[in-house]
């Protein structure tokens, strides 16, 4: 067919392991990209999706090489071409948009100059017209006032703007194929939704083919026409986005989809058991065999081929796909409503907390005055009851982690107090807390690679809190450690391993176990699942929920992911620029009426369903510091009332169902406005 822009035939890419064996990362991949088509490649870390995308540009990472197969771009095998020939194609005919635009733009050159460089290389436009073209490109990626942006340096732009510039640079050569490697990972939800919308428009306007690599099925659903699901270096499912996401007939895709928390379905998602097979392992049968519910002896001994089953429009690599298409995709969700409304003992109260990172001026210090400028977090008031899960939600810079740190005593507060169990006022400096106060509050960090000491074994890691708080030693200590490991569903075999010998999910389990070792009243979870793959994330969330039900622990859960928060929390606090916008039971916060900011956030959440498009109401703009007077959300709010919003701090309003909203708009009017529009 002539409309195929790229064809990949039997491609295998791998590396030589230390003992000289050939280990393949991609195994016998055959697929193609049609002209004007957007293909989403989805898979978890280690599935080979990035390697495949790079191969489409004729590039293999250092240490990797092509074992067999070819990658044809317009009948040229990219993997055989010389660097010089590839240079002519890269950037001009195939362009790549990297994950982190902030790092791929040269920091000391102006945006306009960097785009001009690309133009010089890949177009025939003469010098006079180049400036026009730059403006046009920046305009195309919907950057406001392109001429000003062109004169700026990368660091003067926000993350979303940098990503747009990267897209503009990729478009400079008018490529026929655009490769996007996780282009929205690491961006805030609203920004992400805006960038995806832009990509959709570009695909429509320019008829460019796109390959969108991501672990995020929500993002894939928004942009792709076709989806390729990868597992352990193989394509396991390949078909139209609607077919794949509505009836995923491969068990892995099925499990992946179920493990994503969704806004539309409260409760915990279903976790997928097991971990992907090790690269070095030679698998005779199906690579998903060990984790599959439908596996039989046939799956163990012979490898399924990628084929198009009867009456289906997609390719699948499974013997038992029929079982899945019959099985109604109605995930059985755990309901977490059972533990609601227990004894409402207040366990922690944040009373008008303000935190600032900036040093106070000497005059302010002398007069013992509290400067109103540069306050990162201001007047936070939250009451937390025993056994509840409170979520702090907001985009980057909203101060959610800052609040967590000050609860843990790692960051001192300027104003306000932290009250523990009503009577005890906690010092905001960890050194002034007593042993039992320290024990009561434990932290779990975002990235277990960072939070576990790489030179300690699991046994040493877990023994630290036990020794510190309970002075355990000898057999007693060991018993406790094994007990903890069992609690987080690990076995004794893990005792003497180092963190680097564990998978991401296992590491996070150890971190959870370490927090629980102290038998705390409160556990602070700082984005605990955002560094994990979705299937692992579901398992960790399930573990946290189970442990909470067993031990009655209170969680304070910080996350930027509204769907995860929906799945696990009882109450939600929405923060913007260090100010509380909305607070209430999670079932209510996710319903209207909402604070306009909550509304914007909810609208931008991506669901793995191509028919549920995000609703974009507010501009995606990053504010450097919160406004000194008025409502914190004033400059981005789509529902600004007028003068009042800029001069007066909005009052708290309470809805009938118990959520508090800080807005000048009357709560009834807010409800009317928000519901009538949809």
């Amino acid at each position: 067919m002539s409309d195929k822009i790229q064809t990949i035939e039997n491609l295998s890419i791998g590396f030589k392991s230390q003992n000289g064996r050939e280990v393949s990362i991609l195994k016998d991949i055959s697929t193609h990209i049609n002209k004007g088509e957007t293909v989403g490649i989805v898979g978890e870390s280690g599935s080979g999706k990035s390697t495949l995308a790079l191969a489409m540009m004729g590039y293999t990472k250092q240490g990797l090489y092509t074992i067999s197969g070819q990658c044809l771009f317009k009948s040229n095998n990219l993997l055989n071409m010389t660097d010089r020939d590839l240079e002519k194609i890269r950037g001009k005919e195939i362009a790549m948009i990297p994950q982190n635009a902030g790092q791929s733009l040269t920091p000391n050159l102006k945006i306009g100059y960097q785009i001009e460089e690309t133009l010089k290389l890949h177009s025939t436009i003469n010098t006079n017209d180049r400036q026009l073209k730059i403006t046009e490109l920046l305009h195309k990626v919907r950057l406001p006032s392109p001429n000003i942006i062109a004169q700026r340096y990368p660091h003067e732009l926000s993350g979303g703007q940098q990503q747009r510039v990267a897209i503009a640079m990729a478009l400079a050569g008018s490529p026929e194929l655009l490769l996007l490697d996780e282009p929205t990972t690491g961006l805030d939800v609203t920004t992400q939704a805006h960038v995806l919308e832009l990509l959709n428009e570009i695909a429509k306007d320019t008829d460019t083919s796109m390959v969108y690599v991501s672990h995020d099925l929500g993002a894939i659903a928004q942009v792709s026409d076709r989806v390729i699901v990868m597992y352990a270096g193989e394509i396991v499912l390949d078909g139209d986005v609607r077919d794949v996401l509505s009836v995923p007939i491969h068990p892995y895709a099925h499990g992946l989809l179920n493990s994503i928390p969704k806004l539309s379905l409260p409760g915990l998602p279903e976790a997928m058991p097991g971990t992907p097979p090790q690269l070095e392992k030679n698998i005779k049968g199906c690579s998903f065999f060990e984790r599959c519910d439908f596996a039989t002896d046939k799956c163990k001994n012979s490898k399924p081929e990628l084929f198009i089953p009867m009456n289906k429009k997609m390719k699948v690599r499974c013997f038992w796909h029929n079982k899945l298409s019959e099985k109604q995709r109605k995930p059985k969700y755990d309901s977490n409503s059972a533990h609601k409304t227990k004894n409402l003992d207040e366990v922690l109260k944040l009373d008008k907390i303000s935190i600032t990172y900036s040093k106070q001026s000497i005059i302010d210090q002398l007069l013992n005055r509290f400067s109103e400028k540069n306050i990162t977090v201001k007047d936070i008031e939250i009451e937390i009851n025993k056994g509840e899960t409170i979520a702090l939600v907001g985009e980057s810079g909203s101060g959610k982690s800052t609040i967590l740190k000050s609860i843990a005593g790692l960051l001192s507060t300027k104003n306000g107090s932290i009250n523990f169990k009503k009577t005890i006022s906690l010092s905001s400096d960890v050194r002034n807390r007593t042993n039992s106060q320290l024990r009561a509050i434990q932290l779990i960090f975002q990235n277990p690679d960072e939070s576990l000491n790489p030179s300690h074994t699991v046994e040493e890691i877990l023994s630290q809190p036990l020794k510190l708080y309970f002075q355990l030693s000898g057999d007693k200590l060991k018993e406790n450690i094994i007990d903890l490991l069992k609690k987080v569903r690990l076995t004794e075999n893990y005792l003497y391993r180092f963190p680097r010998q564990l998978s991401g999910g296992e590491k996070q389990r150890i971190a959870v176990a370490r927090a629980f070792a102290a038998k705390p009243d409160i556990i602070l979870c700082d984005e605990v699942t955002s560094a994990l793959d979705v299937s692992v994330q579901a398992a960790v969330l399930k573990l946290l929920q189970d442990l909470k039900n067993d031990m009655g622990t209170t969680y304070i859960f910080v996350s930027h992911d509204l769907a995860v928060v929906r799945a696990i929390s009882d109450k939600v606090a929405v923060l913007y620029q260090g100010r509380l916008c909305e607070f209430g039971p999670s079932s209510e916060v996710y319903k209207f009426p909402s604070h306009p900011y909550t509304e914007v956030l909810l609208g931008a959440v991506l669901e793995p369903n191509p028919d549920l498009k995000p609703v974009l109401t507010a501009e995606d703009r990053v504010e450097e510091s919160p406004p000194e007077i008025g409502c914190s959300f004033q400059s981005r709010c789509p529902r600004v009332l007028g003068e009042k919003c800029f001069t007066e701090t909005p009052p708290w309003q309470f809805s009938k169902k118990g959520n508090a909203i800080r807005c000048h708009i009357k709560i009834e009017n807010l409800f009317k406005q928000q519901t009538s529009k949809n």
Binding site: G63, I441, Q442, L443, N453, Q464, P465, L468, K478, F498
Partner: protein, 292 residues
């Protein structure tokens, strides 16, 4: 159960060792260094002649069966003197390096931890010392305090600890920014416990590698001092001294300097290669990471 933990740690050590010896640089480097150390230890037992016996009848004999490296201007056997010439140098620089690592590591970690004004002041002092040409300072010390090993070891140790201060400080900065330190702080561990359990094991590797590098530099420095006549005093055999003594006669009695030059260079290359392989095995050299 403690044993189990130690087994895990030993496994890690053996992994590092295997990794070192599976690299050509590590294999060659370590072989050279170990050979040198063995020779230095056993040389008094195996040398064929007395190192200090002067014999005017056999001055400047070229290499022969009797004297395989020839003899020097005082009729001493070059082979004997070369075998024994590393003894003092190795001893002085080994202990010198230990001192350098100890004080450099301590000050570096301390500065990295306290930060602020104290860090600023200490680092500026270190910078000032770095600006002084080491050889000038060493000469001054040696002239005032003499050339005994008791002077040379601490003096060299002091001068070569400055570089370790910087490395230790940078490594400390690197590690204290990581979450596991914060986690320990939040748990309420004492500062001592945080430094001992969390920080030290993670900066140790970087300091050890830097120490190994400094060892080879110090060796060169010590030999230079001997060469200038401020290190080992005759008749004790020493490579630097031997090169210095044979220098004037090089044009017609090359053999008196070739052997010590080769010995000294090979030891320095050996140490450098080992330090390199060591760094790579520990994963400190980030460019050499495995592809996946």
């Amino acid at each position: 159960m403690v044993n189990q933990n130690q087994i895990s740690k030993l496994k890690r050590v053996s992994e590092v060792l295997i990794s070192i010896f599976s690299r050509p640089s590590g294999m060659i480097g370590f072989s050279i260094v170990i050979l040198h150390i063995i020779i230095a230890i056993i040389s008094p037992l195996i040398v064929p002649y007395d190192y200090k016996e002067i014999n005017s009848l056999i001055m400047l004999r070229p290499p022969s069966e009797e004297f395989i490296f020839g003899t020097d201007q005082l009729g001493r056997d070059v082979f004997t003197r070369t075998l024994m010439g590393g003894r003092v140098a190795l001893l002085v620089t080994f202990f010198g390096t230990l001192i350098a690592v100890a004080w450099g590591g301590f000050v570096g970690i301390f500065c990295g931890l306290v930060g602020g004004k104290i860090d600023d002041i200490v680092m500026r002092i270190i910078d000032a010392f770095l600006a002084i040409p080491w050889i000038l300072a060493m000469l001054l010390i040696v002239v005032i305090l003499g050339t005994s090993t008791q002077v040379l070891i601490p003096a060299l140790g002091f001068f070569y600890g400055k570089g370790i201060v910087r490395v230790a400080r940078a490594a400390t900065h690197d590690v204290i920014a990581r979450d596991f330190i914060m986690a320990a702080k939040a748990r309420g561990h004492s500062n001592f416990s945080i430094i001992w359990n969390e920080l030290l094991p993670n900066v140790r590797d970087a300091i050890m590698v830097e120490g190994a590098m400094r060892w080879s530099w110090m060796l060169l420095a010590f030999s230079s001092l001997s060469f200038l006549g401020f290190g080992v005093s005759p008749p004790t055999p020493d490579w630097g001294l031997m090169i210095s003594e044979g220098r004037g006669l090089m044009s017609f009695a090359y053999w008196s300097v070739i052997a010590p030059i080769v010995a000294l260079s090979s030891l320095i290359i050996g140490i450098n290669l080992s330090a390199d392989a060591f760094a790579k095995a520990l994963g400190i050299d980030r460019t050499q990471k495995a592809p996946v």
